[in-house]
């Protein structure tokens, strides 16, 4: 076999193979026009190669003429398909130029079959045998047909068209394609055309061998298209990935996806979706099958929503219950969209279904918790409208919830505060933070019947899609108030009992304190009478005696007044007191006790002590308790060491403090504070309420009563009281 036969046959077969491949590609996807057009180009090239071989092997001028005439057919196919390929594949090139190229070339083809023997020759005179690739091939001799210039023109126009298109693509930025497709087409078509033209005009003595050049163009185009195949492969792989990711995401989110082909009544559904509704993976699904899994009560609603979506080509969203054959009830949140495909498949409904049973249960639980709360719960929006109330709130306020929801929250505010309440609300929204309402003030809530009850209200902001809501928790504290009042009353009575106990303890001492002045009075009066009897009483002396009597009378009255105060349940109002005076009076009352316990009392009183605003009887009760305790604590000591030190001092600018210190065994080392516990007593006959009461009295005066073990032994009690604002400078 000769080289010419081998090469041209290979060109033809290669082109045919490529053509067939791309025809198959086009058959798969009817939109792949570029592949179809490429196939035509390849067919054309193959035909062209065949014709060239035919010409080279021609044995007579007639046969050569016939071969050349038929050569124009594959050339036409080649050129027209090239134009189409450029238009479709590169999306470039001027349409009028394309049509002109095709028109001129078609006209050339027509002329080719009109003229005899063909477009190129008027007549063929003979054949020359020329050497080519190591053998001899035929080239023609004859009169050239000037109409063949029309064919040349079509080639020129094709060049212009392709170059123009390549430039457009280049400018668009796709330089690779411009060079690869536009450049190679232009270059090799020029090369092929020049070779053919020069050969036909007899300028060079070689056979027409343009097909190898076209072959290169075809190869370039094929390479380019194969790039597309590779890209498509990558795309499909990407698509697989994204499908997997989607499947993973939908599975993780408990999402079921489905598509309903409305016209075919076929439903495709992901496995997850099938699991959601209790379908086996292979079950064929249609609309009725799916609807059968919807809770009967929710079926009409779902049906209506889907039909509306199909009618309006719009989306739908809803929640419904799915009832599975095994009785499981699921809450499904569904969204979907109807799409009308332009490819004539009709309406398709894409849907997403999600299992929201857990969320709904949580919501339901939340609702139950709110509803079951023993405290009133009221949710109020930014405009002050009630959004939600619970059963306790209904009971607390005496309204039904239908009376409350939507109403201004001021309905529940006492009338005298309704005016300012909106400002308070605005203030809260300006700085929303969870806190107790009212900042220490006593709050009241207004019931439907107009009565007001004491309440405590905690408010916290809740951010929601509707803006900031205010959650108010309302606690009815009537019972607590009542209990507090009772506790106060109990404390009062306990304090009274404690005072009575002290009085009992001091009975002897008090009698002494009273008898002392009374005795002096009686004695003085007796003496005066005797002086009188003897006529031995000067006016001066009488005056002296009477003054003494009056002083003792006052002294007795003072003791009686204190005793009366201590013996009363009500302790009277507060007054300005100097603690030094209270201490002096307490020491006088306990003088006999000090003697009985052989205790020496030492006072270290601040000479200019600021006054306190306090209740005399109560403060005296505190001091009497502390002093009597100190005496008793001293009993264990030898008599010469029994001392009690009582002092007062300023404590900063706004307080004074008094201390009572003994030298006894001191406080329980582990828990000094235990002495303030109720019913804690180390005394044999003590009730154990003295210090407990003393501390509660100190606290009621905004003061403190503390105990410590003093250095050098014994206990020291500190009573600290704020000074009266009236006496502070």
């Amino acid at each position: 076999m000769s080289w010419v036969t081998v090469i041209w046959a290979m060109i033809a077969s290669a082109c045919l193979t490529l053509a067939l491949v791309h025809v198959l590609v086009w058959l798969r996807g009817r939109e792949a026009y570029a592949n179809l057009l490429f196939a035509f180009t390849a067919f054309g090239t193959a035909g062209f190669a065949g014709c060239e071989l035919w010409m080279m092997r021609a044995e007579s001028p007639v046969e050569f003429g016939t071969a050349l005439r038929w050569t124009h057919v594959p050339v036409w196919v080649l050129i027209v398909s090239l134009v189409g390929f450029v238009r479709f594949y590169l999306q470039a090139g001027r349409a009028w130029l394309a049509w002109t190229v095709c028109g001129v070339r078609t006209f050339s083809l027509i002329l080719d079959f009109i003229f005899s023997p063909n477009l190129n020759y008027r007549e063929l005179s003979g054949l020359q045998q020329v050497p080519f690739l190591g053998e001899t091939v035929a080239i023609a001799d004859g009169v050239r047909n000037p109409w063949m210039l029309l064919g040349h023109l079509s080639l020129l126009l094709l060049m212009i068209f392709v170059l123009d298109a390549a430039i457009t693509v280049w400018k668009r930025g796709d330089r690779r394609r411009a060079a690869m497709v536009g450049g190679s087409i232009a270059f090799f078509v020029i090369a092929a055309a020049m070779e053919a033209i020069l050969s036909i005009w007899g300028i060079i003595h070689v056979p027409i061998t343009a097909s190898p050049f076209f072959m290169v163009t075809v190869a370039a185009m094929s390479y380019e298209l194969s790039q597309n195949v590779l890209r498509a492969e990558r795309l499909s792989s990407d698509l697989r990935d994204s499908q997997q990711r989607m499947a993973l995401a939908t599975s993780a989110a408990n999402l079921g996806l489905w598509v309903w082909e409305v016209s075919k009544d076929e439903i495709w559904m992901t496995d997850k979706g099938r699991a959601l509704f209790g379908f086996a993976p292979e079950t064929r699904l249609d609309y009725a099958t799916l609807l059968s899994r919807v809770h009967p009560e929710d079926r009409p609603m779902r049906d209506a929503a889907l039909k509306r979506a199909i009618q309006t080509k719009d989306e739908y969203a809803m929640e419904y219950r799915a009832l599975l054959p095994d009785g499981t009830l699921r809450w499904i949140a569904a969204r979907g969209k109807c799409i009308n495909d332009s490819d004539g498949k009709g309406n398709r409904l894409f849907g997403v279904s999600m299992d929201v049973t857990a969320q709904n249960q949580a919501q339901e639980r939340f609702r139950l918790v709110v509803e079951a709360s023993p405290n009133g719960i009221i949710l109020v929006d930014e405009q002050g409208r009630i959004v939600l109330v619970n059963a306790s709130a209904e009971e607390l306020f005496g309204y039904g919830r239908e009376d409350l929801v939507g109403q201004a929250v001021e309905l529940l505010v006492p009338e005298n505060l309704r005016g300012v309440h909106p400002d308070h609300r605005a203030g809260f929204h300006a700085a929303p933070a969870a806190r107790a309402m009212g900042a220490g003030r006593e709050l009241f809530a207004r019931r439907k019947d107009g009565t007001e009850i004491p309440v405590e209200i905690g408010i916290s902001p809740i951010q929601s899609p509707e803006g900031t809501l205010v959650l108010s928790v309302v606690v009815d504290i009537s019972a607590r108030k009542q209990a507090e009042a009772e506790a106060t009353q109990h404390l009062k009575e306990l304090a009274y009992l404690s005072r009575v106990a002290i009085m009992g303890e001091m009975a002897g001492s008090l009698a002494h304190e009273l008898n002392q002045p009374l005795g002096a009075i009686v004695t003085n009066a007796g003496a005066a009478l005797r002086f009188l009897e003897r006529d031995n009483l000067s006016g001066e002396k009488l005056q002296e005696v009477l003054q003494d009597i009056a002083a003792d009378g006052r002294r007795a009255a003072e003791v009686i007044r204190t005793m009366k105060g201590m013996g009363r349940k009500e302790t009277g109002a507060r007054q300005l007191l100097n603690l030094n005076d209270v201490i002096a009076e307490s020491l006088r009352l306990t003088r006999s006790e000090a003697l009985a316990h052989h205790c020496t009392v030492v006072t270290e009183l601040h000479p200019a002590l600021p006054k306190v605003d306090a209740n005399l009887v109560q403060i005296q009760e505190v001091f009497l308790n502390l002093i009597l305790n100190a005496f008793e604590a001293s009993d264990e000591l030898p008599t010469d060491r029994r001392r009690v030190i009582i002092g007062t001092e300023r404590d900063g600018d706004s307080a004074v403090r008094a201390s009572v210190r003994d030298f006894g065994i001191g406080l329980p080392g582990d828990l000094p504070e235990r002495v303030f516990d109720r019913f804690f007593s180390t005394k044999r006959e003590g009730m154990g309420i003295g210090l407990f009461i003393a501390r509660s009295i100190a606290n009621a005066h905004a003061g403190t009563l503390l105990a410590e073990n003093a250095e050098g032994g014994g206990a020291r009690f500190w009573l600290r009281l704020p000074t009266s604002k009236e006496t502070r400078v």
Binding site: G508, N515, A520, N524, G526, A527, R530, A551, S592
Partner: protein, 209 residues
């Protein structure tokens, strides 16, 4: 011995009470000395004459009972009248046992106090009188010779001259002379008088019988 020698002490830490009591006693013309504490009172030298103390039971530092005790330890014999503003029966009993003359709760009738003071002073006077007499007897006894003292003890034991002479191994005449001197020195005329004096001076009789 006259009434002017009598003195009343008042001890009370309550100044107004102290003053009132003092005033009452003065209205009856008693000589009164007043003290506001037991220590002050103890610092004062003992009065040489009939005296009594009106003592407040409840006082700081040294109370009435302790003062009474202190006085006894010092050998002072002041009669004590307690006054108290409110003390228990126990203290009262203790005070009486320790030799208090009286115990008056405040407020007391001034008559009661005055009567108690008078009674105490009378007893004190009596005591003083006895003390004086005993001193006189002792002074006389001191003039006797040892032999005369022995004879005195035998005489008041009721022994006869003959018996005494036999005891001392001497003659009845000698004893008679001694006996006469004893009677003379002691300033008595009869054996009965001698017995009373000896008794008052605390001289014990001796008898070999």
């Amino acid at each position: 011995m006259t009434l002017a020698d009598r003195l009343v002490y008042v001890v009370d830490d309550d100044p107004s009470m102290l003053k009132a009591i003092g005033r009452l006693l003065e209205s009856e013309d008693y000589a009164v000395e007043m003290f506001t504490s037991a220590r002050e009172f103890l610092g004062r030298a003992a009065h040489n004459g009939p005296t009594c103390v009106v003592l407040d039971l409840n006082m700081p530092e040294l109370n009435g009972l302790e003062l009474q005790e202190a006085l006894a330890k010092m050998g002072r014999t002041e009669w004590v009248i307690f006054i108290t503003g409110g003390a228990s029966v126990a203290t009262c009993v203790q005070a009486m046992k320790a030799g208090a003359v009286d115990y008056l709760p405040k407020p007391f009738e001034e008559e009661d106090l005055l009567r108690a003071v008078e009674r105490a002073l009378e007893r004190s006077s009596e005591q003083w009188l006895q003390r004086l007499q005993r001193k006189e007897v002792r002074d006389r006894v001191a003039t006797l010779t040892p032999r005369e003292f022995d004879v005195l003890k035998s005489v008041i034991a009721g022994m006869l001259n003959k018996q005494i002479a036999a005891q001392f191994g001497t003659t009845e005449g000698t004893i008679k002379v001694h006996r006469g001197r004893v009677m003379q020195k002691m300033g008595v005329a009869s054996v009965a008088e001698l017995v009373v004096l000896a008794q008052r001076a605390g001289i014990a009789p001796t008898s070999s019988l």
